[in-house]
């Protein structure tokens, strides 16, 4: 089992005909992901390495039965691509685009919630989602992920997600699904969404949660864990040394006032019974202990 994506997931790659979308879309296909179609409004009817391209997501879905979209188009175009995918009925929409204006992001989030409640947006500004051996949508290097469970991973940071997958693989620990929720202010899928899904997934026996400074997502996750999660959770929060008021790359990673500090997040998680690590390697080690005791 897994969450959000599996071997039945059929993916449409927006902008498959060029650039990053082509590079990652084809890599995802080579990994074994069912990449069934591409979308480009000007190039419907063409093919990219045997993958048919349609003028829009709805046509692609109709022709191929696709149920997921992969969006890596530039920030200017990403909001309309997300909504196009939702309108076409995609159940999962993975958007890795970095630099979407916050106002667009907030509006799209709200529009999805009102008009397309059946669509789950993962991202934007995230590495994507991978259920190892079954489906990889995004930019994760599939070879660093070991499948089969029992660990579920949810992370706000891209490279720290890879780091976590890598550390676990080194120790022979597999993952069910690894979700990169992204570092932007309004992620389509939150820590809480992923924790709820992992809690409900019988194959996932423990959860690795990687957070960072800024926002309140980790604190909300801590509250949710206390109430609703009985599976062990290991966490790592980046940004202990970050100075307040400075934006650390991710739009979301900024400390304002006393809110959103790594210390506050670590404390909230520890109080919720989460094992909190002080660096990525220690997080891997703590998870190894958890897995041994399962």
């Amino acid at each position: 089992m897994s969450i959000f994506v599996d071997r039945r997931t059929k993916v449409v790659v927006h902008g498959l005909t060029g650039g990053q979308a082509r590079f990652h879309g084809l890599r995802n296909r080579d990994y074994g992901t069912k990449v069934v179609a591409g979308v480009n409004p000007a190039k419907g009817g063409q093919e990219v390495e045997g993958i048919p391209v349609y003028a829009n997501a709805a046509l692609a879905r109709e022709a191929t039965g696709a149920n997921a979209s992969f969006i890596s188009v530039p920030p200017k175009a990403a909001p309309s691509s997300i909504l196009e995918a939702a309108a076409a009925g995609m159940e999962v929409i993975v958007c890795i685009t970095e630099g979407i204006p916050a106002q667009d992001e907030a509006r799209v989030y709200s529009e999805l919630r009102h008009d397309y409640p059946g669509s789950r947006l993962i991202g934007p500004n995230c590495p994507g989602v991978i259920t190892p051996g079954e489906c990889n949508i995004g930019i994760t290097a599939g070879e660093i992920a070991l499948g089969g469970g029992p660990v579920g991973i949810v992370s706000r940071s891209g490279t720290l997600t890879y780091q976590a997958l890598y550390e676990l693989k080194q120790m022979g620990i597999g993952v069910t699904t690894c979700v990169g929720i992204g570092g932007d202010p309004v992620p389509g899928t939150s820590f809480v969404d992923c924790l709820a899904a992992f809690q409900a997934d019988p194959e996932t026996k423990a959860v690795m949660m990687i957070g960072e400074i800024g926002g309140t997502g980790e604190e909300e996750a801590a509250a949710f864990i206390s109430e609703h999660v009985d599976k062990p959770v290991v966490s790592y929060i980046a940004g202990v040394t970050a100075p307040p008021g400075r934006r650390m790359g991710h739009a979301g990673a900024i400390i304002s006032g006393n809110k959103g500090t790594a210390q506050a997040k670590m404390q909230a998680l520890a109080e919720a019974g989460v094992k909190v690590a002080s660096n990525p390697t220690e997080a891997g080690e703590l998870m190894a202990e958890v897995v041994r005791s399962l």
Binding site: A106, T159, G249
Partner: protein, 381 residues
């Protein structure tokens, strides 16, 4: 990007939000010139991006030319909490009957816009919130639906603004919301929003934080560029389009991804070092980007060792390695460098790096090991 008050007011004016007439001055002569054009009395306000300038003597009322010149001389060049005042905003002094507070921002927890209005303006709003949370009226606004005039009227009523101010304040709120959304701001804040004895409501201060991600659709933001307070390292990094934040330590950090860059700073700290900077070279980093990153780090005299920490996903290992090789040929790097490379095409990358390995260019397989080595080479521990 944080705007100075005068820029914020100019931005407000674009959206029809009433502000006092005024202008920027950079010398005492200019202060006098602006003041005589506006008519006395005027207020001379230091333009710094830090709170508490009033208490520091950075805001002064001038009744005539002599006072205007004296305040200009005193305030321009003044140091306020480490910020040098390079310019002042001179505006016609307003008669104030009441001071209110109004703002729009994004409430990330609620994933909605948050409007806040208070009848207790003119002081730190955090202080009001701490002393009496009920003194601030709050309303969540659905970004898809927007903010209506009816909501604005309801909000000023809930905030218990004086009856004669409500219509004017509601009108300002609607315009302020437009400024927030169409103006692509992360925050718009007016403190104080004043009521004059003549019943006019207008913005006496302006705090605007623009969302840098939206710059592509705001060519008019060009005029704001270059005035943000950056140190030399940050200026160079910015000109190269790198995500860089200067810190106080001695280990230069280059990493890909904000999370990994932050984590790298943390790990250096944990093993007894201290990061000189945060530098995220982002996804798809090319040889060019790596070379520029090394150039920025090398320009920092406090850096005693460099820790390059790359985990490949979108950034492929051979690109990183080629970037390092290119940079080493181009930039004169005087301090030792520890490179940890892993992830997509890491093997290919490591092969390329072997050609440049030396006593001062070292590769290390793990993040903790690399951090220890970098700190050791920096002489930190």
């Amino acid at each position: 990007m944080d705007l100075f008050e005068y820029q914020g007011k100019q931005y407000f004016a674009r959206f029809g939000i009433p502000v006092s007439p005024g202008d920027v001055a950079e010398t005492p002569d200019e202060v006098v010139a602006v003041a005589s054009r506006l008519g006395y009395p005027v207020v001379v306000k230091a333009q710094v991006q830090v709170g508490g300038r009033g208490k520091a003597g950075g805001v002064k009322l001038a009744a005539d030319e002599g006072e205007a010149r004296a305040h200009g001389e005193a305030i321009i060049g003044m140091d306020i909490k480490g910020h040098t005042v390079h310019r002042v905003w001179v505006e016609h002094a307003s008669d104030i009957a009441k001071e209110y507070y109004a703002s729009f921002t994004l409430d990330r927890g609620a994933k909605a816009h948050l409007a806040m209005v208070s009848s207790r303006g003119g002081v730190e709003i955090e202080q009001v919130a701490a002393e009496d949370p009920t003194a601030i009226a709050r309303l969540h606004v659905d970004p898809y639906i927007g903010f209506s005039e009816a909501q604005a009227r309801q909000l000023v009523e809930e905030a218990d603004l004086d009856p004669e101010a409500r219509a004017g304040a509601a009108e300002v709120l609607v315009k302020l919301y437009r400024c927030f959304v169409e103006g692509d701001a992360d925050l718009v804040e007016v403190n104080p929003l004043i009521l004059t004895p003549h019943g006019q409501v207008h913005a006496l201060d302006a705090k605007v934080t623009l969302d840098d991600s939206a710059a592509f659709r705001h060519p008019e933001w060009e005029e704001f560029a270059g005035v943000t307070e950056l140190d030399e390292r940050e200026r160079l990094a910015k000109s190269y389009g790198l995500q860089y934040v200067g810190l106080d330590g001695f280990v230069g950090i280059i990493a890909n991804g904000a999370g990994l860059a932050m984590s790298t700073c943390d790990v250096v700290n944990q093993v007894g070092g201290s990061p000189a900077n945060f530098l995220d070279i982002g996804g798809g980093a090319s040889a060019e980007v790596m070379a520029r990153a090394l150039e920025v780090i090398s320009s920092d005299a406090s850096v005693r060792a460099i820790f390059v920490n790359i985990f490949g996903g979108i950034t492929r290992g051979e690109e990183v390695a080629n970037g390092i090789v290119t940079a080493l040929g181009r930039v004169d790097i005087k301090v030792p460098m520890v490179i940890r490379l892993d992830g997509t095409n890491a093997e290919e990358g490591r092969k390329i790096l072997r050609s440049v390995e030396s006593e001062t260019v070292i590769t290390a397989p793990t993040m903790m090991g690399a951090a220890r080595k970098a700190v050791e080479l920096a002489g930190g521990k």
